[in-house]
Symmetry: C2
Subunit: 126 residues, 2 copies
Amino acid sequence: MTDLDFATCCDEHEIHECAITRARQALPAERQAQRLADVFKAMGDPTRLRIILALRAGELCVCDLAEVLNMSQSAVSHQLRVLRGLHLVRNRREGKEVLYSLDDDHVISMLAQAADHVRHTLETEE
Amino acid sequence: MTDLDFATCCDEHEIHECAITRARQALPAERQAQRLADVFKAMGDPTRLRIILALRAGELCVCDLAEVLNMSQSAVSHQLRVLRGLHLVRNRREGKEVLYSLDDDHVISMLAQAADHVRHTLETEE
DNA sequence: TATTCATATGAATGATTCCTCATATGTTCA
DNA sequence: TGAACATATGAGGAATCATTCATATGAATA
């Protein structure tokens, strides 16, 4: 490697070397980052997000959720499984029904922050 | 419609009718819900999430981001476009380079809440 | 115990998506 | 102006995903 290599930004430019190191340290551990992405991804599907939004009003059985979202019971059940796996929703059995509710207050906070962001950007967009 | 129709949960059971109405009112307008999902989905891709995480430490040019994430410049650029479209990141030109930074503090708050959730669930999971 | 209702799940498929490759755009400097 | 660098973008292909359909599990009730 010659000194000429230092001439370009992307290889070894000194100034950026420092920024790169700083940025690398800002990245969390692989496992946490992946799980973080999983959570956002789960909330990024319209069906799953609407499930979460609906559950803000209180617990609902699968059947009612399907009715609210106007979707098949099977489709809703499949997505509830994903949300359960990430501890975004919780369930309890009551006779034949299974009632779902939000698992964690963090979810509400995330929604609130995201809603603020969206409101803000939708306003300034037109 | 006979009274017998009220016997099942999923059709017209009175008790659930009320819960369904309540849940429906908890759903935001279609446009907002879709945009909300878009934001979460954007943050749900590992590459885009890592871009956001890296930018917490300060602005970076595309080339440095590619270096930090160990990905091609093209791949990073494609994802930056998505993030830009949702106002999650902002850019400014400085000579030949384009420097990217986080656009909105809400993003940081969302990350913090999600990280809390993940930390909490990862702990109690084993 | 047999039936009915509520939910869960496996397989299949159509749609979406992220990356790569090639190339275009935009900026600096000789 | 032309060459070199940094970034953006379009097309294409492999992988992922959300729904549907059929069926299994689990609980209540007659």
